[in-house]
């Protein structure tokens, strides 16, 4: 749904930009990243490696399916490893309606039932990693004030550099700075500053590919420079627009697993 929204937005905005030759604002740039078309549906295997300051590594693997249903985007995740969370599944319904909270359910195989849970705090860390739910892409552009501070070449790509300051002063980051590839609308690097304005984390996109005409991030790395902890994310066996059936996102599949 958000993709449709982007497409509509693009139809309105792009001609205007072309005609006026005006520079994009920080908000427009971040909007384009947030709304980058990632397909009607997608599926893939997510491998998350958590590496501590001693170099010890813990690995989590997840199989995920995402589908755009128009007003709602549904996601189902099946936890494959480690062994003690295997067969746990998680469903998220995310709405385009402004202000409407996500709906979430979790299936815990030990309890053998699906539980509705309150929508995760956006500042919570995902599965003990260095990524919060916001970092994974759920943060609405309207939650921050964005400012285009410069344009520069970074890792061989022409980038916009956008500074984003949260409207909520209590938010966990005081600001972020993002390098966004101009023609692909991918955030190539992002710096996160803590409440004391000190650098906290650096997110780097290590690999992205064009799959069926869409830019998909396949590898990224988040380094917490203060705690010297790193999380590597790798997406594999990615399938875009493969026609995932609606029933994949139901309680039936949560219990059945893969």
């Amino acid at each position: 749904m958000k993709r449709l929204h982007i497409m509509v937005l693009s139809l309105i905005l792009l001609p205007a930009i072309a005609i006026n030759g005006a520079e994009l604002t920080g908000l427009q740039i971040v909007d384009n990243v947030y709304n980058r078309d990632t397909g009607k549906d997608s599926k893939g295997n997510l491998t998350m490696s958590l590496i501590n300051s001693q170099g010890n590594e813990r690995v989590r693997t997840i199989k995920q399916f995402i589908k755009d249903f128009g007003k709602v985007e549904k996601k189902i995740m099946f936890f494959m490893s480690p062994a003690d969370v295997r067969n746990t599944s998680f469903v998220n319904w995310s709405y385009t309606e402004e202000g409407k909270d996500d709906d979430q359910w979790i299936y815990l195989p030990a309890l053998k039932k699906v539980k509705r849970i309150s929508s995760s705090s956006k500042s919570d860390y995902f599965m003990g990693s260095d990524f919060t739910y916001d970092d994974l892409g759920d943060r609405q552009p309207e939650a921050d004030i964005h400012k285009l501070i410069r344009e520069e070449k970074f890792n061989g790509e022409q980038c916009y550099v956008v500074e984003s300051v949260p409207k909520d002063e209590e938010y966990m980051y005081s600001r972020t700075v993002t390098w966004i590839i101009k023609d692909k609308w991918i955030g190539l690097k992002k710096e996160f500053y803590d409440e004391d304005e000190d650098l906290l984390k650096i997110l780097s996109v290590k690999k992205f590919e064009n799959i069926k005409g869409l830019w998909i991030i396949l590898q990224s790395e988040m380094v917490n420079v203060q705690k010297k902890h790193t999380t590597k994310m790798q997406l594999s066996e990615v399938k875009i627009n493969s026609g995932i059936p609606d029933r994949q996102f139901t309680e039936r599949m949560m219990k059945r697993g893969l």
């Binding site: 958590l50 813990r58 690995v59 709602v72 490893s81 480690p82 062994a83 003690d84 295997r86 319904w93 709405y95 909270d101 709906d103 359910w105 195989p109 030990a110 309890l111 053998k112 039932k113 699906v114 539980k115 509705r116 849970i117 309150s118 929508s119 705090s121 860390y125 599965m127 003990g128 990693s129 902890h229 029933r247 139901t250 309680e251 039936r252 059945r256």
Partner: protein
């Protein structure tokens, strides 16, 4: 019986590994090895439990067919090895319907740690309510049919053979005992429910999920998992005191209908569950009542809330049991109120977990308070230290006030 199960499990395992029909690499094999040591805080610090567990999950699916086998072994000091199958079932998947046949755990309802509409799988109460939930709920042989319409499900369960609650052994510290003036005799002649079609159990559930609310409606025609303790007293006509007491355990038919819901309100999850039991048996102290039992309708319901406060995940439930058309000599209170509280928090990137859970009986002022600390040394190895504290002197929890204990569980998952 258990030997027979072991034999069956052995055959299945052999078939799995040596039969060419299923390749070992297509099997999903997980499980754990665990040591569980508990020690009482009172008296001579007796060990309340010394248990070693091996639990295995074997799963395989191919197209529209899948199966799961969950054998387990409990090893106790100075007791026979206990070997069994917690689950062993076959799934057959159709476009809009699934059928599961075999031994399975079936859990209904929205309540946590309380059993209201969750009445299909009987309970193993040999260690009261202390084991993990998947160990309290026993598998039962059943046929379960689920029919799906969008986000709604119609579920029908047929249990051909009744399985009762497993109660603690007579010498167990978890045996609640009897508050009687004489040592009773037992007559088990009416306890067994014959294994026949007319004695089977049926359950039905409709459930639906939506953004606004999750709903379940259910009905069941079953046997009461807990036997009613019919009591016959021979009274001395001179002293009017009982000369002997005979307890005759008997399971009775029970019909119930109920439902549950779950919804969100801001950052809160609101849950509710209730069931109306048509004709449940209760003990009575009325000397004119034959065998000291009466049949009454009974209502049990719960309201609960889950929320997060200061990064601590919390949950509270209020449970009420109500006997309709109440007679004063009934041993149970007309209204019985209970609450539960849960608080959990994790630290160190989900490697250290703290949990506090408690049942609080409001009628008798008793409680069970359970504190746990769990640390995961790695994804495979974890250690859990806990304490179970019983407060009060009467009621469901107060009766165990000499059973305060600390325990440790060391678990390796694979």
């Amino acid at each position: 019986m258990k030997r027979r199960i072991f034999g069956t499990a052995g055959v299945i395992l052999l078939l799995l590994f040596f039969n060419t029909g299923i390749k070992a690499e297509s099997l999903n094999l997980t499980g754990y090895v665990r040591n569980y040591t508990g020690m009482l805080l009172e008296g001579g610090n007796d060990f309340s439990i010394l248990q070693n567990t091996f639990n295995l999950n074997l799963e395989h699916s191919k197209g529209k067919i899948a199966f799961k086998v969950n054998p387990y072994i409990y090893d106790y000091q100075n007791k026979d090895l206990e070997i069994g199958l917690r689950q062993a079932y076959i799934d057959i998947f159709f476009k809009s319907m699934d059928i599961r046949i075999g031994k399975q755990q079936i859990i209904w309802g929205k309540a946590d740690g309380v059993f209201i509409t969750d009445v299909i799988s009987p309970k193993d109460l040999r260690e009261f309510l202390l084991p993990e939930f998947d160990e309290i709920r026993m598998g039962i042989t059943a046929v379960k049919v689920d029919y799906y319409i969008g986000d709604s499900t119609l579920e029908l369960v047929w249990v051909p053979v009744f399985s009762p609650t497993i109660m603690p052994e007579a010498d167990s510290i978890w045996n609640p005992g009897f508050d009687l003036p004489l040592q009773p005799e037992f007559d088990y002649s009416r306890k067994k429910v014959e294994e026949s079609l007319k004695n089977s159990e049926m359950f039905f559930k409709y459930s639906t999920t939506s953004s606004a609310i999750d709903l379940e409606f259910m009905a069941g025609y079953m046997w009461d998992d807990d036997p009613t303790l019919h009591t016959v007293k021979n009274i001395d006509p001179v002293t009017m005191q009982p000369e002997s007491i005979t307890i005759i355990p008997e399971h009775h038919r029970l019909a119930l209908a109920g439902g549950s819901f779950s919804t969100t309100l801001g950052g809160y999850v609101i849950r509710g569950e209730g069931a109306y039991y048509f004709g449940k048996y209760f003990l009575s102290e009325d000397p004119m009542i034959e065998e000291a039992v009466v049949e009454k309708d009974y209502l049990q319901y719960l309201i609960g809330v889950d929320f997060t406060l200061l990064d601590i995940k919390m949950s509270a439930q209020f449970i009420q049991q109500y006997i309709l058309d109440y007679d004063d000599p009934i041993v149970n209170d007309r209204v019985e109120n209970m609450m539960t509280f849960l608080a959990t928090k994790d630290f160190l990137r989900e490697t250290l977990f703290l949990e506090l859970f408690s049942y609080i009986g409001l009628n008798d002022g008793d409680a069970l308070i359970r504190g746990k600390v769990k640390y995961k040394f790695s994804d495979e190895l974890e250690i859990l230290l806990g304490a179970n504290i019983f407060t009060g002197t009467e009621g469901m929890f107060g009766r165990y006030n000499k059973n305060d204990m600390v325990y440790a569980k060391v678990k390796y998952s694979f």
